[in-house]
């Protein structure tokens, strides 16, 4: 079969576009490797800005000391992993209920899930913020023993920002919980399950297996690619999540990486070399996950684009 012929000249514009895609990133690397004073000296020609001339690796080390970068990193890591595991688990279970089980109102409820995909995040964020803010008061009034559970009694100063803030604004609870439930994840996994053959599961059911065992031992393993796709998407999304942590967090100890980058903006000028180094460090896990999971990623993009 003859495919439309490809002119060899197409490489020319392609290379140019590839260069344009890479140029800002090269600039980022150059800045991250430059010395503090040198970024502020205007270089007249283009090339020196794209290729590192100084290899000031010290910047990457300085980043860790200047602000509590390790804390931000760990926060981001912990929160992203918690959100990913939570979302994958709950979405998989819900997708199983929608795709494999029969119950009244199933399709109508799914339509409701779909409908919410169109709602702007801002609409739900404000009540969520108010809810998170009010939780300590609600818990304190309704369930005093929960307050006890928050270990406040172990510390003499419950007003100090980190300890004892089990719920409410400025807590890991507020950062993680709202992100663990997603209609999009349910939609994605349901699509996956619907496209998956059921013979093994039907056989297991005839053999008398309960749905829990079918789910954990047959369905999930078979749907591993879809689950991996959702996990990658969710991880990358929560790693870069900015607005929700911005409004929820006020104390430094709970900052995530996107918020932490702000710390390099001083009142009288930004330290660009450190900021770019920090940004690169922040992008590193994303790049690793993308390169390793490229297959799943691209497939997931296409799956999301095909309407059920």
């Amino acid at each position: 079969m003859k495919r439309p012929s490809v002119s060899r000249w197409v490489h020319l514009p392609l290379l140019m576009f590839a260069a344009m895609a890479l140029a800002p990133l090269a600039f980022m690397l150059t800045t991250a490797l430059s010395e503090p004073g040198r970024t502020l000296r205007a270089e007249v020609s283009l090339l020196p800005m794209l290729m590192p001339r100084t290899w000031h690796w010290n910047n990457f080390i300085e980043v860790w000391g200047k602000v509590p970068f390790m804390r931000y990193y760990l926060n981001s890591l912990m929160i992203s992993l918690a959100i990913t595991s939570g979302q994958v688990l709950t979405s998989a279970m819900a997708a199983y209920a929608f795709a494999r089980l029969n119950w009244p109102g199933r399709d109508r409820l799914f339509l409701a899930y779909l409908a919410t995909l169109m709602i702007p995040g801002a609409v739900t964020m404000i009540p969520n913020f108010i809810l998170m803010k009010s939780l300590p008061e609600i818990f304190g009034k309704c369930l005093p023993f929960v307050d006890w559970l928050s270990l406040r009694h172990l510390t003499p100063d419950p007003s100090s920002p980190m300890v004892g803030r089990w719920v409410g604004l400025d807590s890991y609870f507020a950062l993680i919980l709202p992100g663990m439930f997603s209609a999009y994840g349910t939609f994605l996994l349901r699509q996956f399950l619907l496209n998956q053959p059921r013979e093994l599961e039907e056989a297991a059911e005839i053999d008398g297996c309960g749905h829990a065992r079918i789910f954990f031992h047959i369905t999930l393993p078979l749907a591993a690619p879809g689950v991996a796709t959702l996990a990658i998407f969710t991880f990358m999304g929560s790693w870069g999540s900015f607005l929700w942590p911005l409004v929820t967090v006020n104390h430094d100890e709970l900052r995530t990486l996107p918020l932490g980058l702000q710390a390099f903006q001083g009142q009288y000028g930004t330290e660009w070399h450190l900021l770019m180094a920090a940004a690169l460090l922040m992008l590193l896990p994303i790049l690793v996950v993308f390169v390793a999971g490229q297959r799943f990623f691209l497939r997931g993009l296409m799956l999301g684009g095909v309407k059920g």
């Binding site: 590839a18 609409v123 009540p127 209609a183």
Partner: protein
């Protein structure tokens, strides 16, 4: 097919409850419930420090209404219309990015050498996009030491102060959006759709003596209809509510509100001025706008895909 999977509804009902419960509870508490709560909020005035106060439709009148002043009819909230204009202007990026994605996808033909390398490089900007990239572009647009103005200076031109200029700040954001999205999800979707067009169609067209442009117009473009429709619809939904992160990191909404979108203004109202009721009003107005435009697109688009 269903006959072998005997519907024992009641048993499924209880099982389904267990499987569905965690996700459903979260859905109600964090998605469905808040939608209704924010509708209620839009009828109140609340600053979170004092008890909320019911104001009825006042917020909507304040946002969308007009009043008669000595200089004629004036908007109650001129900032709303200004930011709506900003949002719509920035939506120009959508056809731009889509066309660029299509162009790139057309160039990456099946038997091209280094095809996957190109695809990786083009997709890279959208992978790394986020706050880090916004900081990077803010640095690129730095008037004195950034990449862009230095390059222009090398060509003998003096670049403007991109992000603090009234006329250049929005185009600057559009350019950045192009860099981020040109090789992004749209390109991947187009690649997938292109690979599904049967090459026999092209062969037949070539036998009929069709040139490259005619082949594109008659075969490629109609086949890409559904994908284009999907991209534009999702892009519209995202574009109408977006613009917050870029504005926050790069311009602070300025200069003088030139890069403030509706999404950024909602943040301002809710988390800077703590006017929760009014912010909810704006959020719901945005929601209705998105809904309306999406419905319009469905009506217009489905007629197209049938054709």
């Amino acid at each position: 097919m269903r006959a072998t999977f005997a519907p024992r509804s009641r048993r499924h009902g209880r099982t389904a409850l267990i499987f569905l419960l965690p996700n459903f509870v979260g859905f109600v508490v964090f998605t469905a419930g808040p939608v209704l709560v924010s509708l209620g909020l839009s009828f109140t005035s609340w600053d979170l420090l004092q008890p909320p106060c019911w104001v009825g439709f006042d917020n909507f009148v304040r946002l969308l209404g007009f009043h008669l002043s000595p200089e004629g009819w004036e908007a109650n909230d001129p900032y709303f219309w200004k930011y709506l204009g900003n949002t719509l202007f920035l939506l120009l990026g959508l056809p731009l990015n889509t066309a660029a994605s299509l162009g790139l996808a057309l160039m990456l033909q099946d038997n091209l050498r280094f095809r996957s390398a190109y695809r990786f490089l083009f997709y890279l900007p959208s992978v790394v996009s986020g706050v880090a990239i916004y900081y990077l572009w803010r640095w690129i647009y730095n008037p004195d030491y950034g990449l862009l103005n230095t390059a222009l200076a090398g060509l003998g031109m003096e670049g403007p102060a991109w992000l603090s200029s009234l006329s250049w700040s929005k185009p600057a954001l559009l350019l950045m959006g192009l860099w981020v999205s040109a090789g992004g999800q749209a390109m991947i979707l187009y690649l997938a759709a292109l690979s599904q067009i049967s090459p026999e169609l092209y062969e037949a067209a070539e036998i009929d003596g069709a040139g490259r442009w005619e082949k594109f117009r008659a075969i490629t473009w109609p086949a890409l209809g559904p994908v284009t429709f999907f991209i534009l619809t999702m892009g519209m939904i995202g574009g109408l509510q977006g613009g917050f992160e870029a504005a926050y990191v790069m311009t602070g909404g300025g200069p003088f509100g030139a890069t403030t979108t509706l999404g950024y203004q909602i943040y301002n109202l809710a988390y800077v001025h703590f006017q929760m009721g009014y912010a909810a009003t704006l959020a719901w107005t945005l929601f209705l706008l998105v809904l309306g435009i999406t419905l319009l697109q469905w009506r217009f688009g489905s007629r197209q895909t049938i054709a």
